[in-house]
C-alpha cells in the first residue's frame, strides 16, 4: 500500500460551490414569480398536442424543413414558443433539435419554411441580425474564443457598444463608461457560474464543463429576449447545475424567454413550463412536463425502459450468471 499523503490545509474541498449550493429557505422563493405565474396560467389551458397554438407566442415557425441528401433532418409543421415561458425541447439523438436551432438562428438555411420572431419575419436573416434582435443561442459543441480571456469572452457577449466601432474605438472617452458597466455585469455572472477565478485565464484552458458554463453565461450577457440553450448542462456538475436552474428561472422574471434542449429529465421536469418532443425531425408531442413524460410513446422512444431502475441492479444485465453480490 502507499504512503499517506496529507492534504495541504489551505485547500478546502470545493470551497466555491458551498457558497452557491445553498438554496432559499424552505417554502420561500428567492425572487418574484409574476411572469412565471402568468405563463403557468396561460399554458394550463393549452392542448397537449403537437403544433398547438399558444396564447402569447414569441416565436412562430411554419413548414420548416431541412434535408441533408436523402434524409430529412427537420420537418416542423407548426411550432410556437410561449413568451416568458421556459420551454424544453427534447428528443432522441439526431432528432433534429440542433439543426432546428441552426435554422432558427440563421446558421443554416432551410429548404422550406418561414418563421416569425416577435412578429418579424426572420427568413434569410444573418445570424448576427438574429442575435441583435434578441434571439441568442448557445452551441452544443462549445465555441469559446480560446486565446481570449474568460472575461473578454464575456464582454463580447455584451450588446454592441460604441467602442466596437473602428473609429470610435480610438477615443476611449466614448466607451469607457459602458465598458465598465459591462465588466461589472460580466463579473457578477462569472461569479454565479463559478468561473470568477478563471476570469483572466485563456478560455482555451477551460475544462469541458467550464466551457459549457462560459457559453451560457456569455449568452446571458446581452439580456436576450429569447435565449436558446443547446444542452447547456451536459457535463456540468450536478450540484452546480441545480444552483444554475434557479438562475435560469430567475431569468424569466427579467423578461427572458428560454428554450432549451436537454437530456437530463430531472432538469426538464424541474424547470420547464412546457415540453416539446422532436423525433426524426418532426414534433411528435407537446405539453405540460408531467403529461409528456408519462406519454408512453415518449417513454418508448426517448426515456427508455430503464428510466426508473437502479442501474446497479443486476436485473438490467441480460446475463444468466449473476453470481456477484
Amino acid at each position: 500500500m502507499r504512503e499517506i499523503k496529507e492534504v495541504k490545509p489551505e485547500v478546502k474541498p470545493f470551497q466555491d460551490l458551498a457558497k452557491w449550493a445553498t438554496k432559499a429557505p424552505e417554502g420561500e422563493k428567492l425572487i418574484s414569480t409574476a411572469y412565471g405565474d402568468k405563463v403557468t396560467k396561460d399554458l394550463k389551458f393549452v392542448d397537449n398536442k403537437p403544433g398547438v397554438h399558444k396564447p402569447d407566442p414569441i416565436l412562430v415557425a411554419d413548414h420548416v424543413t431541412r434535408k441533408f441528401g436523402g434524409m430529412t433532418a427537420v420537418d416542423v409543421e407548426h411550432f410556437e414558443i410561449e413568451r416568458h415561458g421556459i420551454t424544453a425541447l427534447i428528443g432522441p439523438n439526431g432528432a433534429g433539435k440542433t439543426t432546428f436551432f441552426n435554422l432558427m438562428t440563421g446558421f443554416d438555411t432551410p429548404n422550406t419554411g418561414e418563421w416569425r420572431f416577435d412578429g418579424r419575419d426572420m427568413a434569410h436573416m444573418q445570424p448576427e441580425k438574429v442575435a441583435r434582435m434578441g434571439m441568442v443561442r448557445t452551441f452544443q459543441l462549445t465555441k469559446v474564443m480560446s486565446r481570449l480571456t474568460v472575461l473578454d469572452n464575456m464582454l463580447l457577449g455584451a450588446p454592441v457598444q460604441p467602442g466596437e466601432g473602428m473609429f470610435r474605438s480610438l477615443i476611449p472617452g466614448l466607451w469607457k463608461k459602458q465598458e465598465q458597466e459591462n465588466v461589472e455585469k460580466a463579473e457578477a455572472l462569472l461569479e454565479r457560474f463559478l468561473l470568477i477565478k478563471k476570469k483572466d485565464d485563456f478560455a482555451g484552458s477551460l475544462s469541458g464543463g467550464q466551457r459549457k458554463l462560459l457559453e451560457m453565461a456569455r449568452a446571458l450577457m446581452r439580456d436576450p429576449k429569447l435565449v436558446m440553450l443547446d444542452e447547456p448542462m451536459a457535463g456540468v456538475n450536478p450540484a452546480l447545475k441545480q444552483s444554475l436552474l434557479d438562475h435560469i428561472m430567475s431569468l424569466r422574471e427579467e423578461g427572458t424567454t428560454v428554450l432549451f434542449v436537454e437530456h437530463d429529465i430531472n432538469m426538464v421536469r424541474h424547470i420547464a413550463d412546457w415540453v416539446t418532443v422532436m423525433a426524426e425531425g418532426k414534433i411528435v408531442a407537446e405539453g405540460q412536463p408531467k403529461s409528456v413524460m408519462n406519454d408512453p410513446a415518449v417513454i418508448d422512444a426517448y426515456l427508455g425502459a430503464h428510466a426508473n431502475i437502479d442501474l446497479g441492479d443486476d436485473s438490467v444485465l441480460d446475463l444468466k450468471e449473476s453470481e456477484e453480490h
Binding site: T98, F101, N102, F107, F139, Q140, L141, D230
Partner: protein, 476 residues
C-alpha cells in the same frame, strides 16, 4: 584615295568574272599594302562591314522563299559594281565610300519572279551601325509610302525608315493578329496536351504536398525545394557521376525520401512535441526553403542544369508533337498518383494519415503510432517531390536552384482548388491549373497565363469555398 571604277556590260559573265577577280586581287593588294584605306565597290561572296568598308547585300528570293540564282545586280551611285546571285540567291557588294547607292536588276527578272521592285536605294555610312550594312530584299512588299515613288525602293534609306518602318510594323502587327487567329487551331491540341503533361507533373508534387498538409495541417513552403532537390540530384547522377538516367532518377528519389525522413526527425517531430502551432511551423518551412534554395545555389550555381544533354527525337501523335521521355514521364506520374490515392483511400495506413490530420491526440488514443505515420508521410511526400523534380527536369529540359520555388504557388493553387487535404483534389486541381495556364496563352499574352490559372482558382473558390473535393463542416 584609289578609286577603281569598273564598267561592265550586261550579260557578259566572263568579263564580269575576270573583273571580279581582278577587283578582288586589287582589294587584297590594297588592304595588304595600306590597311585602313578605302577601296572601290566590288562584288564579294559575303560582306561584313569594317572600319574601311560598308556593305550592300541581300538575298534574292521569290515569294516562296526559293532562291533565285544567277541574276545580275548592278550597284551604282558613289561607286559601282556588278554582282551575280549565287545558288542560294546571295549577293553582296563591299563599298568604301559613304553615300547613296542604287541596286538594280533586270525588270524582266523582277516580273518573272513576281518581285515587287527591281531597284532599291540605300545609304551607306561606314561609321554608323545602322548604315554600315544595308540589306536589300526585293521580295519585300513595297512600302505603302513608296508606291508613288520611282518604281518603289526596296530598302529605304534609314532617314526614311523611321516613317516607313512604322507603317510597316503596323502592317506586320495586323498580319500577326490574323496569323495568331489562324494559328490557334494548330495550337489548341498541342497546348492542351502540354497542359495535361504539366498538370500531371504538378499533380505529382501537389499530391505530396497535400499529403503533408492532410496529415499535419502544415502548408510546406519548402516543398518547392524538395522538387528542385530531386531534379538536381538526378543532374548529379547523370552529369557528375555519369550514371545512366534510371539509376540517377532512383538515386534522386532516394535522396529526396531521405531528406524527408531526416527533416521530420530533426525539425518537425521536435516542433510537434513542443506543440508549436502550424503557423509557426510554416515560418520554419519558409526558413528551410531559403536555406535549401541557397544551399543549392551554393553547390550548383545560379544557372539551369540539364539532366539529360540530349533532346530526343520528336514524333507526332495526331495533331500533337511529343517525344518518348515526355510520355514516359507522364505515365510514371499517373501511376504514382493513382498509387498514392489508392494507398490513401484503400489502406489502413492511408486512413490513418487522414485520422491523424483530423485529430492527432485521438489518433494516438486509437492506437495509431502518430509519429510513425507522419514519418511515412514525410518520406513519401519528399520522395514524390524528388520524383516530380526528376520528371520535370526532363520535361522542362533543365532544373535550377529555384525551379521548385517558382512552381510553389501553382502547387498551392492546385491543392487549394481541389480541396485542401483531399488526394484526388490535388490531382484534379493540378490538371485544371496546368490546362488553364497552357491553354489561356491562346487568348491572353503568354506572360499573363499564370494569372489566368490563379483567377480560375479564385472563381472556383467563390462558387465552392471548400474547393472541388472538400467537404463542408457543419456548424453548431
Amino acid at each position: 584615295m584609289t578609286a577603281v571604277t569598273l564598267s561592265v556590260r550586261r550579260h557578259r559573265l566572263g568579263l564580269l568574272l575576270i573583273s571580279a577577280i581582278f577587283a578582288l586581287l586589287m582589294a587584297l593588294c590594297i588592304s595588304l599594302t595600306s590597311p585602313g584605306r578605302a577601296f572601290a565597290a566590288e562584288a564579294v561572296p559575303t560582306c561584313n562591314p569594317t572600319a574601311t568598308n560598308g556593305c550592300v547585300n541581300g538575298i534574292l528570293q521569290d515569294a516562296n522563299k526559293q532562291p533565285i540564282a544567277n541574276v545580275e545586280l548592278k550597284l551604282s551611285g558613289k561607286e559601282s559594281a556588278t554582282a551575280t546571285t549565287d545558288a542560294q540567291g546571295n549577293w553582296a557588294f563591299s563599298v568604301s565610300a559613304d553615300g547613296k547607292y542604287t541596286v538594280t536588276m533586270d525588270e524582266s527578272v523582277a516580273k518573272q519572279y513576281g518581285l515587287k521592285a527591281a531597284t532599291a536605294q540605300v545609304e551607306i555610312e561606314k561609321n554608323s551601325f545602322d548604315k554600315a550594312r544595308q540589306v536589300v530584299r526585293f521580295d519585300k512588299p513595297a512600302p505603302a509610302a513608296a508606291t508613288s515613288g520611282s518604281g518603289g525602293s526596296g530598302a529605304s534609306s534609314s532617314g526614311k525608315t523611321s516613317t516607313s518602318a512604322n507603317t510597316n510594323s503596323d502592317a506586320a502587327t495586323t498580319t500577326n493578329g490574323s496569323a495568331i487567329g489562324a494559328n490557334i487551331g494548330k495550337r489548341v491540341w498541342q497546348q492542351l496536351f502540354s497542359g495535361i503533361i504539366f498538370g500531371l507533373m504538378l499533380g505529382l508534387m501537389s499530391v505530396g504536398m497535400n499529403l503533408v498538409y492532410g496529415t499535419t495541417g502544415l502548408s510546406s513552403f519548402s516543398h518547392g525545394e524538395q522538387v528542385s532537390l530531386g531534379g538536381l540530384m538526378a543532374y548529379v547522377g547523370t552529369q557528375v557521376l555519369h550514371w545512366p538516367l534510371i539509376p540517377s532518377a532512383i538515386f534522386a528519389v532516394l535522396i529526396g525520401a531521405l531528406t524527408g525522413w531526416i527533416q521530420n526527425e530533426i525539425i518537425w517531430a521536435p516542433l510537434r512535441r513542443k506543440r508549436v502551432g502550424t503557423m509557426q511551423q510554416m515560418i520554419v518551412t519558409i526558413g528551410l526553403s531559403m536555406a535549401l534554395q541557397y544551399t543549392f545555389q551554393f553547390f550548383f550555381g545560379g544557372d539551369i542544369k540539364g539532366i539529360t544533354k540530349s533532346v530526343s527525337a520528336s514524333f507526332n501523335i495526331g495533331p500533337v508533337t511529343t517525344d518518348a521521355p515526355t510520355l514516359i514521364a507522364a505515365t510514371i506520374a499517373i501511376i504514382v498518383i493513382v498509387g498514392v490515392s489508392l494507398f490513401l483511400y484503400r489502406t489502413r495506413l492511408g486512413r490513418a494519415t487522414r485520422a491523424v490530420s483530423d485529430n492527432a491526440a485521438l489518433a494516438a488514443a486509437s492506437g495509431i503510432n502518430v509519429e510513425q505515420v507522419v514519418r511515412i508521410v514525410w518520406i513519401l511526400s519528399c520522395g514524390m517531390a524528388a520524383l516530380s523534380g526528376v520528371l520535370l527536369g526532363i520535361y522542362l529540359n533543365g532544373i535550377s536552384w529555384n525551379t521548385g520555388a517558382t512552381l510553389l504557388l501553382l502547387m498551392f493553387a492546385a491543392v487549394t482548388l481541389g480541396g485542401l487535404g483531399t488526394a484526388n483534389g490535388a490531382l484534379v486541381g493540378s490538371l485544371i491549373i496546368g490546362i488553364v495556364a497552357d491553354m489561356s496563352s491562346l487568348i491572353i499574352p503568354n506572360d499573363m497565363r499564370y494569372a489566368s490559372a490563379l483567377a480560375i482558382l479564385i472563381i472556383v473558390l467563390l462558387i465552392r469555398p471548400q474547393g472541388l473535393f472538400g467537404k463542408q463542416q457543419r456548424v453548431g
